[in-house]
């Protein structure tokens, strides 16, 4: 049965702000977040019968929203490679999670996501942007907790290498020109 305008409007009023906030934290701009929300509701309209049987509509919409955000991040890949202003390393083996209000940290994570595979991106989004536990993240992604740990640790190892290179590049520029890059 197709969704009615009234049903979808009611859902939109109820869920769109939460989805917009979440998408903005991942993608960084209101414009991209608005697009993610529109896409999510288009998917809801398309899969209305399936959607109506979901125990947690927001969890279902989060998954749709995640897919869209992953696609956008993938499309930005070339753009993010050009970023050279990330000068802080992620310190230590224990992961640090960005405050949702901390744009710099969120941006750093976005840059690192550009080169990750989709499963890792999904894990990082749930751990860092959604603040989910490892167990909840593993359940949503459909993998075991040990697998999630491996993916996450590999991401952090790569993050340290990438950010380490950027730190070195920054220091080199600073040494040459006597100013912070």
């Amino acid at each position: 049965m197709p969704v009615s305008e009234g049903d979808l409007r009611e859902l939109y009023v109820r869920y769109a702000p939460v989805l917009h906030l979440r998408a903005r934290s991942i993608l960084g701009t209101d414009e991209d977040a608005a697009d993610a929300v529109q896409e999510t509701f288009a998917r809801v309209a398309r899969s209305w019968d399936q959607f109506r049987s979901e125990a947690s509509p927001l969890t279902w919409m989060y998954q749709i929203n995640t897919n869209w955000c992953l696609n956008q991040l993938r499309n930005r890949r070339g753009h993010h490679r050009k970023h050279e202003d990330q000068r802080h390393e992620i310190a230590g083996a224990e992961a640090l999670t960005p405050s949702m209000a901390d744009g710099l940290d969120a941006e750093r994570i976005r840059v690192l996501l550009a080169d990750a595979d989709d499963e890792t991106r999904r894990i990082v989004i749930h751990l860092y942007f959604d603040d989910l536990t490892r167990e909840d993240t593993a359940r949503l992604v459909g993998i075991s907790v040990p697998t999630l740990r491996k993916r996450h640790e590999a991401f952090l190892r790569r993050a340290r290498v990438v950010l380490g290179v950027l730190v070195a590049a920054g220091l080199l520029v600073q040494a040459w020109y006597g100013v912070a890059p």
């Binding site: 305008e5 979808l8 409007r9 939109y12 009023v13 109820r14 769109a16 702000p17 939460v18 917009h20 906030l21 979440r22 209101d30 608005a34 929300v37 529109q38 896409e39 288009a42 309209a45 398309r46 947690s56 509509p57 927001l58 969890t59 989060y62 224990e94 992961a95 640090l96 999670t97 960005p98 405050s99 949702m100 209000a101 901390d102 940290d105 595979d117 890792t120 751990l127 942007f129 959604d130 603040d131 989910l132 536990t133 490892r134 167990e135 909840d136 593993a138 359940r139 459909g142 993998i143 075991s144 040990p146 697998t147 740990r149 491996k150 993916r151 996450h152 640790e153 590999a154 991401f155």
Partner: protein
């Protein structure tokens, strides 16, 4: 910056669910304030409907496995994948061969010939047909065993002999066989070891690790070695 959420605080998803009334629980005022400050685009029925009509449906799930590729516990019917194998020395430090963060195992449950994504948090009854999938972290051969609740090992790949079977190194792939759960006690722990010398070697190691600490020790091994993957199937 905050440490990763260990369950001591509600996630953003949980807070969202509370805010929209899906579940009950105390609301974080800061989260509620941030949601309230969001300016969403006005609802546009026509735009959303037009967009939904342009969507492309996701690809269909994998095709059902034909009967001759199915495996049964405790008897495994060898599949095509075991045709040729290469003996590769066990890599004590194989990290430089790993692509994408380590091997892992997943599974589908076959219901009426339709594969459904398996949920490792659920318990599955005897007779349930599972189809395992893997990512090999760049490895080219694999041994797959399982251990039941009393430590009894079943060898799946290779079905015969000790030579590891070839696997596809990139991406996630479905094994060419399905497994029907038996009624042996306890969870069935599947252990895949990639780029190892022999199935005998893996079986010895599995028994040694199991004897040292049971399921937890196997999971630790999985966590420590990027070329080892485990999958725990709880049975009921």
């Amino acid at each position: 910056m905050r440490a990763l959420n260990q369950g001591e605080r509600p996630s953003q998803l949980e807070l969202g669910r509370r805010l929209v009334g899906e579940v009950e629980g105390p609301m974080d005022p800061d989260y509620a304030r941030r949601v309230a400050s969001v300016v969403v685009e006005p609802f546009d029925w026509e735009a959303i409907r037009a967009r939904s009509e342009r969507l492309v449906d996701p690809p269909p799930p994998p095709a059902p496995v034909p009967w001759w590729r199915r495996l049964h516990v405790p008897v495994l019917v060898p599949a095509f994948a075991a045709a040729a194998a290469a003996v590769v020395l066990l890599q004590p430090d194989a990290g430089n061969r790993v692509k994408g963060g380590g091997a892992d195992l997943g599974f589908y449950v076959l219901r009426d010939g339709t594969p459904l994504l398996g949920d490792p948090d659920l318990a599955w009854p005897a007779g349930e047909r599972l189809q395992l999938n893997y990512t090999s972290a760049g490895a080219v051969t694999m041994v797959l065993l399982s251990v039941d609740g009393v430590g009894r090992v079943s060898r799946w790949f290779p079905a015969e002999g000790s030579e590891p079977v070839p696997v596809v190194p990139g991406g996630r792939h479905v094994l060419d066989a399905s497994i029907i759960l038996d009624d042996a006690p306890g969870p069935e722990v599947f252990v895949a070891a990639f780029d190892v010398e022999s199935a005998d070697e893996v079986e010895r190691r599995v028994l040694e690790v199991w004897g040292r600490g049971g399921l937890e020790a196997l999971l630790d091994w999985d966590g420590d070695d990027p070329l080892v993957a485990t999958l725990v199937i709880e049975k009921r």
